[in-house]
Symmetry: D2
Subunit: 339 residues, 4 copies
């Protein structure tokens, strides 16, 4: 049975995911789209044989739509997700789930009231083969309890519109999600310190930043966020346990020896680096939806946690690096917690 | 438009490819299957909602079938492929195309008579991301003309049924195909020399073997085939050009430091190593079939060439390592040659 | 002309350095030794044909001694070094130069009063080929200004006597020295945070620790000190500049593929890891002494700086991770400063 | 006790070794030198405080000389070595021991007649830390019996004077020696095949060449010799055993990520690559001489074997790649053999 997906938001990300449903993932079809830009929606719809609907609400409630993909402008996410829950339909929401913790909690509460999981949030790192191997190693216990994680998130350049808080909100948020999952632990405090800024940035931006997180279990995480590193898109992650260290691999790439150097290419953007992770993310989500199973990817609670933790990091940045406690609600049993 | 695929042969390989058409590749459906073992065919058909047909001929000519996948017993391949050409239907044939050069030539001639390419042979290395990167580097000319290629093809163990000629026919054949493509050059002679045999083999087997090939352009290839290397499935390939060297990567894998060692896991079989290559192979083939384009993967001529070259290698092995000239016909213009 | 070296302290380290003067470094001879343990001194002296002298003072002033090596108990270092300065003789002092900043300053002042450099302190990382390559890369400017340095200093295990302050005093002190040199910058603050402790430690010890340093130029350094990591002795250092990253290599070591793993050995102690650096350290020092040149290795000022900075780190550790400003005097012109 | 070394031949290599005895190795002094170019000899002697002697014979028999280093023109080696044996003095002879097998045998016989080993031949690879680690792994038996060795010996460029036979005589000779030692096995046949020649060579030169060797024990060796590879000096060696593979490391070198590439520098000449091996070679030789022990490095027999095997390789090259049997005498018990 083919899953009929309705897509809210046909911008760059939306189109890329539509391509996945069409060309990469089996068992799904995009049957309806909507966008504030009606012309763009029409063009995309024509390409894949979908219907254009006037707005998110009509799309969500359309009998042609089994499941919803939300890739619209961030501030509209919560409303569409709440609407999908009201309609009892599975919904995949690109990050962020909502722009405030309060709105995230409204989703969390609505989903609990509904009684089963409908929401998956688009954190794709959990679907990357390398992170999954790391998790296998950590979960096996062969390295003992994890104690420290060292991470780096580097990007060649960012445009002028990228401001200092986005280092947490848009960039570090990926590590925040994947580390909570990797460690099966909660982040309880955040601190952001700012090294000398690179001269290769727009003047208003604090870049690089070093973010320090502590988990409930006492694991310490240091994360370098450097979004104008010039040389490439480079994701590093090393977890230190009581009996050893496991490290995320760089992507496999031919090595070349020429002109006195031996080396490999560094990817230039996140699309190349995480293409396979995106494919797996949508393959598994579609599989779950098709069989009526609850999604196993990042939950509404994970979306809430990411927002609260990034808020704490931003507050630390704005207060010259004070340690900010993450004010997270107790995790409900519904989401694997004890509350 | 969904490509309706008929599958001849529902053994292990056949089932694995059926899974690909069902779960991995979009735009295809398996609509008919056949197998000498009717019970097995019925079971597989039931799983994917396909029709069981009594034999290859009926399957090929069925109006429910747009394209044919041949994964039956090797000696039956040529007949099915010829039949598919007669029916004017695209056919994907697992290696070998045929068990003799003569039968391969019959396919080659039938396809030429038909006037456009219908046949693709199942050499999947050309679809591996690492080999494709190697080809990009070589084709770019940045390393100058290629001069030498060093290869190793290692397998943990083989069963008793694996005999010495299979080192060329079943194992080296993958390098033979991928190197002809990588170098865009033809192999003109073969020589097989036999080191001391490993004690970890069945007594009748010559293992390891070193195969030496020369191309028309003068490139020399050395290929270690070692099918009882115990430690893992390990594929190495290094091309030496006038200004540098390019090397196939090992698969990306987390590195672990523990107990005095720093290292990564070695894959244990070809399925894990080339899973993504198989997926790409069928994705691209399905895409070509769906749009009515000629396939771009290994052709019937490549299937013929592989058979003639492996025959030369086997003859060298059987004559104590004499250099055996490959007696290949001139390549027809139809297949990019000048004859 | 052979440099006649007198050695104060013939314990394990002293003997190892005596072996260097005897077997590894040309142009030097150990002519006199002294030790509180007279029997040990006699035994060592007999082995290398040196005279035993009753105490440091007599050794320093002996006409048989051109230069002094201080490898006695830490609290005695300052006195011997001051004595050597008074005698106008070059002196190599194992770390620490002194156990308090005040005593270090006495040495610094005495040396300035003497008018030329006589003192070298035994920080051997600056002589390691890998760190020297890092410095070359950083000094070349090809990576732009340095912004961040990530380090790890891991040791398999430590004995019960190793206490929490030693993580800074005995372990991190090596990074503190080498990073000041690598960056040509001064450390101005220190902060120590404590992850969950490993279960593989003596109960009184805080292990691992994460030390954060800031330099006058705004470079931020994070240093993991983990002295019960079990798996090996592992030194990591990565400097992030505006246009790229340079990383200290692991020691060259054969790689082995066997039993499903591909890997290399990790060194088990600092002696194996830095043997060549120690050799170079003494080769260069002896060369300078032989030609009457001032030593170019770590100076008395560097010894003072290391003590002040480790003190700041210890204070942070003892105050739950507060940021502690390093209260260093202005650097005199004599030592390359502006004061 | 200082070993007084007399040096015959003060060219580039001679001077480099003299520097080792002076600056690097303890326990030796160069007391006498001689050279056809008397002015050069005088200049070198003045630098190190040695006496100039009129010729090799006087140097060898001088009472000021305990041991002899032969670094003169190749064709004169045998005569000097024979003279040193006649004088009963240890002699270190740079490769080749002699330019013909017959002359090598004269040395072998003279040394046997003398009754104990005096001769060491200058193959330095056996002193390289990486090769020694390889030998440890192979000798441990953990990989089972060795079956195959893959090698490459690459050099950036060679001058016009370098001719095709030198690929065996001057270049491959290092692998020939180190592999005989690594495998503890004898090479019994040689075959040289010639790939397409690089355009980056002088026209008379066959470059690259692939050399195939077989040992008495059945191990097969393939060795790529490529002396105009442009990109660097690159030595590769991989031994394949029944249960695994061990590989020579590249030299440790900082890795740099910049401008889209991640990589390390490749050494540009053999001096940088094997500097430490040369140091160890002379350190161990001096140590043996000083204690009156027989040298443990490459023997006169190894010098003979290298000459016979390179001759076989040259003959194969000159006869279009025929397999040439190595006509080696049985190895005398004196040299660890059974004859």
């Amino acid at each position: 049975m083919t899953v009929r997906v309705g897509v809210i938001g046909t911008g760059m990300i939306g189109q890329d995911h539509i391509r996945r449903f069409t060309d990469v993932v089996t068992g799904a079809a995009v049957t309806a789209v909507t966008d504030l830009d009606a012309a763009r929606a029409a063009e995309v719809a024509a390409r894949v044989g979908a219907t254009v609907l006037p707005n998110g609400a009509e799309l969500i409630h359309s009998p042609e739509v089994d499941a919803v993909l939300v890739t619209s402008w961030g501030p509209t996410h919560a409303e569409h997700v709440l609407d999908a829950i009201a309609a009892g339909k599975p919904v995949f929401c690109e990050k962020p789930l909502a722009t405030t913790p309060e709105d995230c909690l409204r989703v969390v509460e609505a989903e609990q009231a509904h009684g089963r999981r409908l929401v998956q949030v688009g954190f794709m790192r959990r679907f990357d083969a390398g992170y999954r191997q790391m998790k296998e190693v950590l979960d096996s216990g062969s390295l003992g309890a994890p104690l420290i994680v060292h991470c780096a998130h580097r990007n060649p350049t960012v445009p002028d519109a990228y401001h200092s808080a986005m280092a947490a909100q848009d960039t570090a948020v990926h590590e925040i999600d994947v580390l909570r999952w990797l460690l099966d632990d909660e982040i309880v405090s955040a601190q952001v310190i700012t090294p000398r800024a690179t001269s290769k940035r727009f003047a208003h931006l604090k870049d690089p930043q070093i973010m320090l997180f502590e988990t409930a279990g006492g694991v310490r995480i240091d994360l370098e966020v450097f979004v104008n590193c010039q040389y490439g898109y480079d994701i590093q992650c090393e977890a230190v346990g009581e009996e050893g260290v496991v490290r995320l691999p760089d992507p496999a790439s031919v090595s070349v020896r020429t002109a006195g150097r031996h080396g490999t290419a560094v990817p230039q953007d996140w699309k190349a680096r995480f293409a396979a992770a995106f494919d797996t993310e949508f393959r598994e989500w579609t599989g779950a939806v098709a069989t009526g199973a609850e999604p196993t990817g990042p939950s509404a609670w994970d979306g809430y946690a990411a927002t609260v933790i990034t808020d704490a990091a931003v507050r630390s940045l704005q207060t010259d690096g004070t340690v900010v406690t993450v004010g997270m609600k107790p995790r409900p049993a519904f989401y694997g917690g004890t509350a």
